[in-house]
């Protein structure tokens, strides 16, 4: 069966909206209600964050959401329990984003196998390096048809972007600026980098993430690539909002209209 991420990009090449949410946030059992609302109100892809005690690439907002989720009792085992049977209701592609240590402790093959069983389509592990992936884990991801998505940044050389693009499955995650998540760096200086990505003729679709927070930044990203990823701004909205469904509706409405 074709991976759902590939199906998505086969059908839609522009304006793809990927929204990040933290599993078990704001409350332990909000994972599925948030995902359901995201699908219903127009997210094309869902990036589900697996909380970790030491998230090195994240700024304070996503850190705090993870801390809260862990306090709520979230864990990788718990998350897979929650995801049992979720494909009966949710058909958009779902990607797990997490740090490598919990996956290593769970067992990489057991983790990838479980992803395939419950219907998770891809994984982002920002601290799993390219060399280790190639040497030890690539065959496992391929065996279960689970995509591993790699990141590139404005400091990544063209040569390395091509290498990461060749390894990446599903799409390539272009970090908008050299920063942790939610840093609010000015995107107007990134034009040269975005144009460089366009000219490299990459084999994967490209989504831009980090610093995408509203309609203006989303539209900017979409001018250069296939779409964008919103995380921090959505976590903030979820934390401040009252009920999940209306928060998600309002949030996505403001991006898309």
């Amino acid at each position: 069966m074709q991976n759902r991420i590939d199906q998505l990009f086969a059908a839609k090449q522009t304006g793809v909206l990927n929204i990040y949410c933290t599993a078990g946030y704001p409350e332990l059992n909000d994972t599925l209600p948030v995902m359901t609302a995201l699908q219903q109100h127009g997210a094309d892809l869902i990036e589900l964050g697996v909380p970790f005690s030491d998230p090195l690439a994240d700024g304070p907002v996503i850190q705090d959401s993870g801390t809260r989720a862990l306090k709520n009792g979230m864990s990788l085992h718990k998350l897979f329990e929650q995801l049992e049977g979720f494909r009966e209701r949710i058909h958009v592609p779902v990607i797990l984003m997490g740090y490598f240590n919990p996956v290593l402790v769970y067992g990489v093959e057991a983790f990838v196998k479980k992803c395939a069983e419950v219907g998770v389509d891809g994984v982002i592990l920002p601290d799993l390096p390219k060399a280790e992936y190639e040497a030890e884990y690539k065959t496992i991801f391929e065996k279960y048809n689970v995509s591993l998505v790699f990141l590139v940044t404005p400091e990544t050389s063209d040569e390395r972007i091509h290498q990461l693009d060749n390894l990446s499955k599903g799409f390539l995650y272009a970090v908008s600026s050299s920063s942790t998540t939610g840093k609010d760096k000015d995107m107007s200086h990134q034009q040269a980098y975005f144009e460089r990505l366009q000219q490299l003729k990459l084999k994967n679709p490209v989504l831009i993430g980090f610093g995408i927070k509203d309609k203006a930044t989303f539209d900017t990203a979409c001018r250069y690539t296939n779409g964008a990823i919103i995380g921090t701004a959505f976590i903030k909205a979820l934390g401040e909002g009252k009920d999940i469904d209306s928060t998600v509706r309002t949030f996505i409405g403001a991006i898309k209209n």
Partner: protein, 402 residues
């Protein structure tokens, strides 16, 4: 000097991929790749450069006060019935071995064209040593420190500020050393071009464990020369050092790793007892995982969440150990023991009374195991006295009358 010595034949040193056995590597997010890659490519070239070595050596001699003495502790030797020598890193400028590494790394940072320095600190010793070399070189310095540590180590915070550093409170997570390290790494992600991260211990992504071990290896290089003069042999029977992340132990063990007849003893912080739930004895309580971008042994939950350790000594209060040490543990090359808070306190008071030296709380953990090692009267024992106890006076006073 031997900081750039070829170690490729040693089974205990780093391999060409940055691993010690199955430990090590560089599990970094892509945002850090250019910086870490640059260090990996250039650190050996810089450390081998004769002009670097001359500058490093001159500063260690004239500014730090090296070589640090190897002192024969006569009364301690009488008590423990062995020939005990103390490697006096406590007499270095800034009061601990930490400055060996910061001098080396600031010279490296200059050669890489960096203008801004960041560091993490727990007790504040590495922060002070970093602030010191930044003042010396006129570089901007930002030190991350857990907000709980800022409160309990106030004098070192003031010292860093006097030296011109900006001290930033790490308010995430448990607000101690682990989180200060996270914040320093996040700063580096956000400042990818002009900044060098002076990591203080033999942990973190490759090449840090090897680079820090090499810069600290002056400790064992000197011990060999000094022992030869004093005993007629470069080789002791034992080298004993405390271990948190493991930089003083790495330096004290470095030039003895392949002399298998020298017993290497690493002493971890047992806290209130290894199984009390308040301990930092990583080799006993930890299992393999990733912490601060290195694959090593670390304390964690069954879900892979990194847990908070405990020790009376802020410098040993770290939930992992450097990958070299994880490998020394697994291969059995080094013996790993633990000393509890109470044992370390007793050893500190004893050193004061027998030798007139107030040791750092960390170093006292190494001294605390002299009573447990099966010495013969002719055994030559070197204990790395990694730092002095000024910073721990409040702790010592508080426990004195208990």
């Amino acid at each position: 000097m031997d900081i750039a010595i070829d170690t490729s034949k040693s089974r205990y040193q780093v391999d060409k991929n940055g691993y010690y056995g199955r430990f090590g590597g560089a599990y970094i997010p892509e945002m850090l790749f250019p910086n870490v890659d640059e260090l990996q490519r250039k650190y050996m070239e810089v450390l081998s450069d004769p002009t670097f070595q001359q500058e490093f050596e001159a500063l260690l001699r004239d500014y730090v006060g090296r070589p640090s003495p190897l002192y024969f502790a006569k009364r301690l030797s009488e008590k423990y019935k062995a020939k005990i020598f103390l490697k006096r890193e406590d007499l270095n400028h800034t009061g601990a071995h930490k400055v060996n590494n910061t001098i080396g790394q600031i010279l490296l940072a200059k050669r890489l064209g960096k203008t801004r320095i960041i560091a993490e600190t727990g007790a504040g010793q590495h922060g002070v040593a970093t602030a010191t070399v930044c003042a010396l070189m006129g570089m901007e310095c930002v030190v991350y420190m857990g907000s709980i540590d800022i409160e309990r180590q106030a004098p070192n915070v003031s010292r860093m500020k006097m030296l011109g550093a900006t001290v930033v409170a790490a308010t995430s997570g448990s607000q101690t050393l682990k989180d200060a390290t996270n914040e320093a790494i996040r700063d580096w992600i956000n400042n990818p071009v002009d900044t060098h991260y002076i990591l203080g211990t033999a942990a973190g992504p490759h090449p840090y464990p090897d680079m820090v071990a090499r810069l600290q290896s002056v400790i064992s290089e000197e011990i060999r020369k000094q022992l030869l003069e004093k005993t007629g042999s470069e080789l002791p029977d034992y080298v004993v050092a405390c271990i948190g992340g493991g930089s003083n132990a790495a330096g004290a063990f470095f030039h003895y790793l392949d002399d298998e007849e020298v017993k290497l003893v690493a002493v971890e912080a047992g806290g209130k007892g290894v199984h009390s739930g308040h301990s930092a004895a990583t080799t006993q309580l930890g299992k393999i995982g990733i912490i601060h971008a290195a694959k090593t042994l670390l304390m964690q939950t069954e879900d892979g969440q990194i847990t908070e350790p405990y020790s009376i000594s802020a410098g040993l209060d770290y939930p992992g150990i450097g990958p070299m040490h994880a490998h020394l543990y697994e291969t059995g090359r080094a013996m790993f023991l633990d000393a509890t808070d109470d044992e370390a306190l007793a050893a500190a008071y004893e050193l004061c009374k027998l030798e007139g030296i107030i040791p750092a709380m960390e170093s006292a953990h190494a001294l605390a195991k002299l009573k447990d090692l099966p010495f013969n009267p002719d055994d030559v024992v070197v204990v790395c006295l990694s730092g002095r106890g000024d910073k721990d006076l409040n702790t010592y006073i508080r426990h004195m009358n208990k």
